[in-house]
Symmetry: C2
Subunit: 241 residues, 2 copies
């Protein structure tokens, strides 16, 4: 056992990559487990995901997985984090590849919807019903922020954007309620703008969720034009152009 890792000198690496050969192998196998769990998730859904089925898929025995993940919940956490990072990445990328605040917003929306349609179970994992018996640790909350920040970034780069005046003449409690959200997403903007951002983000997730969860079944098959129009409408309501 003292052989391989004794020569950690040459292959010593920076912070993000494992130092020893042993650690690298372990990291690779961990990634393989997460990948297999992702495939399993895509087939059976979050609530039906089990450690045993993941082990079967890898040709391993269930107990072997406990060397890598102390519980089913920790594996779920890894999948949730991965999903948030993935959708956050496509959102950022899309927002960065368009000009004009409304076009950036629409590009972000389309990218998020495309990701959701390609990964419906992953979408359900992060934006659907909570998985029974699973308690989300704080780390997933941080990962979830990435997408929200991408949305807020579109607003942040459109300093003049503001929802129309007089929507609700005096919402008494809006200011204090919105304060923590403003601090995290849109420092310096007024309460209606922050609220409109929340609404835009909510409309997007709601639209994709209803579609993926089968609530437009009676409606149409070619959903894209309706989606694009609705997202344009919600972007306009936030003052984007």
């Amino acid at each position: 056992m003292t052989g391989p890792e004794a020569i950690t000198g040459p292959e010593a690496e920076a912070a993000s990559t494992p130092r020893s050969v042993r650690a690298r192998v372990r990291a690779e196998l961990t990634a393989e487990i997460v990948a297999a769990a992702g495939e399993e998730l895509a087939e059976v859904g979050p609530a039906a995901l089990s450690l045993r089925s993941v082990a079967r898929r890898l040709g391993m025995v269930p107990s072997a997985l406990y060397r890598y993940f102390p519980s089913r919940d920790s594996l779920l956490t890894a999948l949730i984090t991965e999903a948030y990072e993935a959708v956050g990445a496509v959102a950022e990328q899309a927002a960065g590849s368009a000009d004009g605040s409304l076009d950036r917003w629409l590009a972000l929306c389309r990218a998020v919807r495309t990701w959701g349609r390609a990964h419906p179970q992953q979408w359900a994992l992060i934006y659907g019903s909570p998985v029974p018996g699973y308690a989300a640790p704080q780390t997933t909350v941080a990962a979830a922020l990435r997408v929200t920040l991408a949305v807020a970034g579109v607003l942040r780069d459109a300093p003049g954007a503001r929802p129309p005046q007089g929507v609700a003449p005096d919402e008494p409690g809006l200011e204090p309620v919105v304060a923590p959200i403003r601090d995290a997403l849109l420092p310096g903007r007024d309460a209606p703008t922050v609220a409109a951002t929340v609404l835009a983000w909510t409309s997007l997730t709601g639209m994709v969720s209803l579609e993926l969860f089968g609530h437009y079944e009676g409606g149409t098959t070619e959903f894209e034009p309706l989606f694009a129009y609705c997202m344009a409408l919600s972007g306009r309501a936030a003052g984007l152009d």
Copy 2:
């Protein structure tokens, strides 16, 4: 199908009221089972609901339930139908108890949110991720329509309501895509109005879902003012006032 009819033989009943004593008793017990299933659902959630736990709660043995519901899925269908009817009823009632299209919309929104907060697992059942292994029959689609019709009713009673012009200059495919939805909800209205109605409804379910599913955890505790403002904004975007 809600289950019982499927295995009811000679004593098949008329539309709503049972004929024989036997059938009435059977209907009562069926209702008791659904009620117990509702309690169980409220505790463990849709994905974890089992026939056995319902039987335990009733002091019955699991196999006895199969005389009333041929499968777990048929019991789930009954619960789904019940939930849709319940939220549809409060939506209708709220919409009918206010004057002015925007106020009616806001009343409907508050009522739907209140119902969702009071019945989070029922909400998850109908608006959350699909239950693994469950295929929704056509009857649930009909029940789901009740809430949507209540929303559309607010728009229908505000004939002048229309989203602002020039939101998306020419959405080429919007017209044909929106046609079936218009026929079901808002005959005679133009495509943008129908789309704005879809968006308003989507914003409402999205807002409640994100709240109930824990996505505003880092945000605020007093969520109501933000909710009301956002729904006012979405109502305005549909042309309500």
